[in-house]
């Protein structure tokens, strides 16, 4: 037992160790977009993975018939907000890549509306990323990326591309939209990889 009391205010000043450096906890869900919100009917939606050997394609029914994971995770936006314990449902990229063989180590995610972001393949596998289509028990709202968005919670949230429509395998790591325009090529919130 400690004889030194920090008083009642001590605990509140302790930093939550789930918050990366420079981040502030929020309870709402801020919306950040680089353009208009695309209106995508699930009847028209498709998801593709393009490798050196060809294109793998799923429509909405095929996609939502895959093994679905429940994901409970913290998310961290480069604009300094973090949200803890967010609840998602989606398909793991391990499931999507189960029958895909590729020698290419890098991925460019492409979205409806033209957004792109790059992630190394090994940072998408082994339970690290999903294509999510439910948030907090509801279908994913279009302003948060619905029908489906990439979810890569261990990187800053700009990597979790909203309205994702496909992954393109690449031999080299190449910058996506924000990465070309000032943001970090990798984006680890624990290392504060925010900008170039």
């Amino acid at each position: 037992m400690s004889f030194i009391s920090r008083g009642f205010s001590g605990r509140s000043r302790e930093r939550d160790d789930r918050l990366p450096p420079g981040q502030t906890l929020v309870h709402d869900f801020p919306v950040l977009s680089a353009g208009p919100t695309p209106d995508i009917d699930t009847a028209d939606w498709e998801f593709t993975i393009r490798t050196e050997s060809g294109v793998h394609r799923w429509n909405w029914d095929e996609f939502t018939s895959l093994k679905i994971d429940d994901v409970d995770t913290d998310i961290h936006c480069v604009t300094h907000w973090s949200k803890l314990g967010t609840k998602w449902r989606g398909v793991s990229l391990d499931t999507l890549f189960e029958d895909i063989e590729t020698e290419q180590d890098y991925v460019m995610a492409h979205s409806y509306g033209g957004y792109t972001t790059n992630v190394p393949l090994d940072e998408l596998l082994d339970g690290k990323a999903w294509v999510a289509f439910e948030y907090d028990g509801e279908p994913l709202d279009p302003e948060h990326g619905g029908p489906a968005r990439l979810l890569v919670p261990h990187l800053y949230f700009w990597k979790s591309a909203k309205w994702v429509r496909g992954l393109e395998m690449m031999d080299q790591d190449e910058p996506g939209f924000w990465e070309q325009n000032g943001y970090h090529i990798h984006g680890d919130p624990w290392k504060e990889e925010r900008y170039w």
């Binding site: 950040l32 977009s33 680089a34 604009t79 924000w178 070309q180 325009n181 000032g182 943001y183 900008y195």
Partner: protein
């Protein structure tokens, strides 16, 4: 022809970069539309500012700001016409 180094840009580029952005005319790489930047569609969020072509919606320019650093990109613009004072 020999080239000189970038220090030679100090005069002409300083003059250019002082232009009135809204009056400047930019050509969209995507559809070729040429219009004053004041007529572009601008989307602003905490992550940055994205300027899109009024005609095709392609990204013309981006602005990212962080404290004492800023990044200005004109990825979707082939050229910008600037009106020079007194000419």
């Amino acid at each position: 022809m020999q080239h000189v180094d970038g220090n030679s840009l100090a005069g002409p580029l300083a003059e250019f970069l002082a232009f009135d952005v809204t009056m400047a005319t930019a050509r969209c790489n995507g559809c070729g539309d040429t219009a004053e930047l004041a007529r572009a569609m601008v989307y602003t969020s905490g992550a940055g500012t994205v300027v899109r072509c009024r005609s095709c919606g392609q990204v013309l320019a981006t602005l990212v700001e962080s404290g004492d650093r800023a990044w200005i990109g004109f990825s979707g613009v082939s050229a910008i016409e600037v009106r020079r004072p007194g000419s």
